[in-house]
């Protein structure tokens, strides 16, 4: 052990020496290699794919050396980018008012592949289709929503609390314990008791991970993947608990025909007449096929400024399938099924 200690001292200096040595050797080697490398690297950078094939980082077998070379390359690139940016800024300042407008940066939403099923607001056929579909009873104000929330069998604490909080957010919602009952048997009973929605939160490993939303008389069934569930006590700077007022509903960015169907499904969960007195709003925001649910309370401080407090649970949904008819996963007909290998091949194509 003492040997080790002394050795340690020695090895300490030794290692530093060796490190320095390594660095020195590397530095020595680098200038040795550099003119060749830099030259060739620059050549390759300038020529693109030059012939005969020049040096490439992947041919260095030593991981440390390769890493160092890569870091150097990145630093070079960053320096060049900064120089370019400074040059452009200088030119822009020099031009002053005559400068051309700034380019819009490319984002995935900008580059989205145009979906031919995007709904045109003046389309008669789509208007007729929507006017006579399964939700027409709600949108013609003939029924009031009544939601039954339940879970998969034997739920754990987190899912139970999630369901309770959902029931406070959605007016006229009732939570029932599942008791191992079959959904196909629950549905006729719900219909006879005038429920309009059946919401089943599926749980896996003590965490909610799926949702089946079934519109009741004979309506479509949507199956979602639930992620990022934050319960009320996990939220920072939240407001007091939501009141019994009917919230307003915001549906963002549901542009395609499928998006319209899902948007209408969410809209039919809430009663028609929002109580503006309550100042509560539920938002379903669709971005890149993920639907983000948020529940806020707003207050107008003056005419231009609004303050919002987030209440209530927050979660994200991703549509897995939309089935025509009430829940029947084996024999039902699917209107849309998410097929990963066919539909997710392009990063710029979205379906909602």
């Amino acid at each position: 052990m003492t040997k080790m200690v002394t050795r340690k001292h020695f090895s300490d200096t030794h290692t530093t020496n060796t490190k320095n040595k390594v660095k020195k050797t590397m530095k020595r080697q680098k200038p040795f290699q550099e003119p060749v490398d830099n030259g060739s690297v620059e050549e390759s950078e300038s020529a693109g794919s030059s012939f005969p094939p020049t040096f490439s980082l992947s041919t260095i077998k030593n991981k440390q050396r390769r890493h160092l070379m890569f870091m150097k390359l990145k630093q070079e690139k960053r320096k060049q980018k900064l120089e370019l940016r400074k040059k452009r800024k200088k030119e822009r300042d020099a031009l002053g008012d005559k400068a051309p407008p700034k380019d819009v940066p490319k984002t995935i939403e900008n580059q989205r592949v145009y979906d031919e099923t995007t709904v045109d607001p003046e389309d008669e056929e789509v208007a007729f289709d929507e006017g006579t579909d399964e939700f027409s009873a709600y949108f013609n104000k003939l029924t009031n929503p009544k939601v039954l929330i339940t879970t998969s069998d034997r739920p754990r604490g987190r899912t139970v609390r999630f369901c309770e909080q959902l029931a406070t957010v959605i007016p006229n919602a009732h939570v029932y314990y599942r008791r191992g009952l079959a959904l196909k048997r629950i549905i006729p009973q719900c219909v006879s008791r005038n429920f309009t929605y059946l919401m089943v939160i599926n749980e896996d490993r003590k965490v909610p991970n799926g949702m089946v939303l079934c519109h009741l008389p004979d309506g479509p069934t949507a199956h979602f993947k639930v992620s990022s569930v934050r319960l009320r006590k996990e939220m920072k700077r939240r407001g007091k608990d939501p009141t019994e007022h009917h919230p307003e509903v915001i549906l963002n960015n549901f542009s395609t025909r499928l998006g319209h169907s899902i948007g209408r499904m969410f809209a039919a969960l809430f009663p028609h007449d929002p109580h503006f007195v309550g100042r509560q709003v539920a938002t379903f925001h669709n971005q890149r096929d993920f639907i983000f649910f948020r529940f806020h309370r707003y207050i107008f401080k003056n005419e231009k400024r609004v303050g919002i407090q987030e209440l209530g649970p927050r979660f994200t949904l991703k549509l897995r399938s939309l089935q025509k008819g009430t829940f029947d996963s084996k024999f039902g007909e699917y209107e849309w099924v998410h097929k990963r290998h066919e539909m997710d091949s392009s990063r710029r194509k979205f379906h909602l």
Partner: protein, 403 residues
């Protein structure tokens, strides 16, 4: 309207009651409907060709009306009351010697004669899902449904079915296998019948053999098979299921030859072209897709804004042959020029449109062809189909040289 309907080679019926015609060459879809009086109970349940020349489309609606649409005139010419909502949806429409055969879900198969004389009625059992007519023996009709086995009926002897299929033996748990026939097709040049079931089975029956159980049985997938279609080359069948999966199955051994990708929703209508290796499919995802069966790639995809129920492919050659010929050619050819398949070439117009039809051309029949789309209302000349093929070649060669 007439112009648009004459261009269409694919006809699709939707859930909103609109008949849509699609012209694949122009990549356009047209709606043929009376927009003001659209109701959901006019939903198109089945479609069939009204005549062998494919100039009339028969549409069976949910409220029990059968409408006739003329493709040449572009309007609905006739509408008859053939049942009502209480009897269920139409599950099959067919035409036999100017009388109409309809079948509804409650099992009532009726033969409506022209002039509203007595209609023959057969009760085929409840829960019928499909009724199909044998294209070669037009008085034979097959029906099948949920807990309703495949039955083959002869309309000239309507008391009893010629052939009733027997259910397969109990499965490995000794439980009765449930019956749910979803679609039926008659194999050409033989007596055999192919069915696909809601329990993802495909079965081949042979009424001429002594066994009433299926001759061949295969399974595909885990979801109910909704439709099937027989392509031009024998010994294979294309099936579609509720999940949007289309597969080509081999009927000799019962193996999967390949799957067709692209559909996102349940397949409701499927039809193969009689001669070309082309498949048209429509479904709940509101798209009409045309695939090539040889390499299983997508050829055309058209967005129709409503959910689609049935599709009809006309047997006109989908590949159009264009020959540009100047004005100075005589309007009428000196010799009758028709090949075996009924292709006839026309001269004396700016653009030429050669269309073919695979109908058996008898010596008395005539095939009409139209001048090209540059002048859609151009001269329509009918030529008797009696010329041998060798006489056309010099004319065609001349036309190509002129081009």
């Amino acid at each position: 309207m007439a112009v648009k309907s004459q261009l269409c080679s694919v006809w699709v019926g939707s859930e909103t009651g609109i008949l849509k015609g699609v012209s694949l060459s122009k990549k356009q879809a047209f709606n043929f409907c009376e927009m003001s009086c659209l109701t959901r109970d006019q939903e198109v349940c089945t479609m069939a060709w009204g005549d062998p020349h494919e100039t009339e489309v028969l549409i069976g609606c949910l409220n029990g009306r059968v409408k006739t649409f003329s493709t040449e005139k572009g309007i609905f010419t006739e509408s008859r009351e053939c049942g009502d909502l209480s009897q269920g949806r139409f599950t099959g429409l067919a035409v036999m010697d100017s009388s109409l055969i309809t079948c509804v879900e409650s099992g009532l198969l009726k033969v409506w004669n022209e002039g509203s004389s007595n209609t023959a009625e057969i009760n085929v059992g409840t829960g019928v899902c499909r009724m199909r007519q044998n294209p070669s023996q037009r008085h034979h009709v097959a029906t099948g449904g949920k807990e309703n086995p495949l039955k083959l009926w002869d309309l000239q002897r309507p008391d009893k079915s010629i052939f009733t299929a027997k259910n397969v033996a109990n499965d490995w748990l000794d439980l009765r296998v449930p019956v749910w026939v979803r679609d039926i097709a008659f194999i050409q040049d033989s007596n055999k019948i192919v069915t696909c079931t809601g329990h993802h089975q495909v079965r081949v029956y042979d009424p001429s053999s002594p066994q009433r159980r299926p001759v061949l049985e295969t399974q595909y997938g885990e979801y109910p098979l909704t439709t099937l279609s027989l392509p031009a080359d024998q010994a294979s069948v294309v099936v579609g299921n509720t999940h949007g999966q289309l597969a080509i199955l081999d009927l000799r051994k019962g193996l999967v030859r390949g799957c067709i990708k692209g559909l996102a929703g349940g397949v409701r209508g499927l039809q193969c072209h009689p001669s070309l290796p082309v498949l048209a499919s429509c479904g709940l995802d509101r798209f009409l897709r045309v695939h090539s069966l040889k390499d299983r790639t997508l050829q055309h995809k058209v967005y129709m804004k409503s959910r689609l129920n049935c599709v009809l492919l006309s047997s006109r050659d989908l590949e159009l042959l264009w020959l540009h010929i100047p004005q100075s050619w005589p309007a009428k050819p000196k010799l009758p020029l028709i090949t075996k398949r009924g292709v006839c070439a026309f001269f004396g117009v700016q653009g030429l449109y050669i269309s073919g039809s695979n109908l058996p051309v008898s010596s008395q029949s005539s095939v009409s062809c139209k001048a090209g789309t540059a002048d859609p209302g151009g001269p329509e000349v009918t030529v008797p189909a009696s010329a041998p093929a060798w006489k056309i070649l010099p004319w065609l060669l001349l036309a190509v040289w002129w081009n």
